[in-house]
């Protein structure tokens, strides 16, 4: 839980505080090295590879968009609101938040939350 706090704060900052500096807002797929730090990505699903449990997420800033490749583990929680959903239920176009950590083999999501479609109640 301790590791989640910075990510939660970052996510809240993204949603709630447009006045924050861009360094806080940045969601780019920079090559993070710290395996203990949480990396939070919010974006639109580009592709889901159910068989390998991975997905490509479109993130970015302004007109500079980037793809982030995220893998999951059997322990990864995939949620929609308070309900648990299957990873395979995710589809291109879904908006989601992924709480990830960097491993030698890339980003691993500990938790994925499918966000309500804009205009929809959570």
């Amino acid at each position: 839980m301790k590791n989640r706090l910075p990510g939660t704060l970052l996510s809240l900052a993204l949603v709630c505080s447009p006045a924050l500096p861009l360094t806080v807002l940045a969601q780019q797929p920079a090559p993070p090295q710290d395996t203990t730090q949480l990396y939070v990505y919010t974006g639109t699903v580009h592709a889901v590879q159910s068989q390998t449990g991975s997905l490509d997420l479109i993130t970015g800033m302004g007109h500079a968009l980037r793809l982030v490749h995220i893998r999951t583990l059997p322990a990864t929680q995939t949620m929609s609101g308070v309900a648990t959903i299957r990873f395979a239920d995710l589809a291109p176009g879904d908006k989601l938040r992924a709480d990830c950590r960097m491993t030698p083999s890339g980003l691993i999501a500990d938790r994925i939350e499918k966000l309500p479609a804009p205009g929809q109640s959570p």
Binding site: A26, G62, H63, A64, L65, G93
Partner: protein, 383 residues
């Protein structure tokens, strides 16, 4: 005239006709800045004017060598004759911004080093694109004011199901993370600072702390040795200064105009142009007093509207190919070409090209007598 108004007129004789506000010319900063804010504006203008080279971060793929290379006419922050190309793939209901193929902004220039490595003159056009769009250079006056219009206000103008049966059904676009968009011709980008940081990358190929990774070349990584500068290529201070300049650029005060132009303002409303080009918007709270709770002449609702098949090009976010954000008309008088791609050589032609939701309003314009049409154009030329 009351004593207060007389005093106002006497003491502020050089100020604009409308109310008791100082005149803002295109390129001027917002009125009422503190000395420090004015200094920030001036510092930002220098970064805005910077001409970048490969040695200072430009490229390897880019559209322009600096902000003012495009936003230059007739003053810094204005328009320019440069055009760029965007491309996406529309697979209804989804819009693919083609990030795997280099993103929807197709950079039209490359550095000599990239040309030597790959033998290309521009980023390859994405093969999966279903549409190509040309984009003219917009003015950036008053964008700090637009940035502070609360999302709730934009949402309150939306009428996606046309419940008021006026034939106009503006709707909100959203960024990839679901936030309400407002900047760009498709209202895709939520915040001004993000638009600016994204432009450094997408337009100039310059990385920053906000966008620390380079653009790809049609989705492929940049060849080794081609990009000499380590990331980020500009620091946060340079990014912030640029943002300060754009944020503090004022919205040009409407020219006093002739009696005809004044009458044209009434025609503008009577034919219904103001249903989308809302005359004023109001900012929310801001630490900058010159931006805080200001009612300003925006002439936009920041919503997407269907303009019909004639103008349709790319999708973006939730915007379909025929949907465009209502263009703010602040600083309209400095433009020589109109619409998102600059295809209209006159204001009259631009109005005639409005279709879709704007059809009825356009037809009312076309049904006006010559005098009223001329009055409306005269009014637009004061903005």
């Amino acid at each position: 005239m009351t004593r207060g108004l007389r005093l106002c007129a006497l003491t502020l004789g050089g100020f604009a006709f409308a109310g008791c506000h100082p005149t803002v010319k295109p390129g001027d900063p917002l009125p009422g800045l503190t000395r420090e804010q004015r200094a920030q504006f001036d510092r930002g203008a220098k970064v805005f004017d910077t001409v970048f080279t490969p040695e200072t971060g430009l490229g390897p793929v880019f559209n322009s060598v600096g902000c003012a290379e495009c936003h230059e006419d007739p003053v810094r922050g204005g328009t320019g004759d440069e055009k760029e190309v965007h491309a996406t793939a529309f697979q209804p209901p989804l819009c693919d911004p083609l990030v795997e193929e280099g993103g929807f902004v197709v950079q039209l220039a490359v550095t000599p080093a990239l040309k030597a490595a790959l033998g290309i003159d521009s980023e390859p056009f994405p093969p999966s694109a279903t549409a190509r769009a040309v984009r003219a250079t917009p003015v950036v006056f008053g964008r700090g004011l637009l940035d502070l219009v609360p999302d709730s206000a934009i949402l309150s103008y939306a009428d996606p199901d046309d419940r008021d049966h006026d034939g106009i059904s503006g709707r909100v676009n959203h960024f990839v993370d679901g936030r309400v968009g407002r900047f760009g011709r498709k209202a895709f980008v939520p915040r001004l600072a993000e638009f600016n940081a994204g432009a450094f990358s997408a337009e100039m190929g310059i990385t920053s702390p906000a966008v620390p990774t380079e653009e790809t070349v049609g989705g492929l990584p940049i060849p080794p040795g081609v990009d000499p500068l380590p990331e980020p290529e500009i620091n946060q201070a340079a990014l912030d200064q640029t943002d300060d300049f754009v944020r503090l650029l004022g919205a040009p005060t409407r020219l006093k105009g002739t009696a005809e132009a004044k009458r044209g303002g009434k025609v503008f409303a009577s034919v219904g142009c103001d249903k989308c080009h809302r005359e004023t918007l109001r900012t929310g709270d801001s630490p900058i007093a010159a931006l805080r709770y200001k009612v300003f002449p925006a002439y936009t609702d920041l919503l997407l509207h269907d303009l019909g098949p004639e103008l349709a090009d790319i999708c973006l976010g939730e915007a379909t190919p025929s949907e465009f954000r209502t263009e703010p008309l602040m600083g309209l008088r400095v433009l020589e070409h109109f619409l998102h791609d600059g295809r209209a050589a006159s204001l009259e032609e631009a109005i005639q090209l409005h279709g879709g939701e704007a059809t009825a309003v356009r037809d009312r314009f076309l049904g006006l007598g010559d005098a009223d049409r001329a009055a409306l154009i005269a009014f637009l030329e004061t903005l």
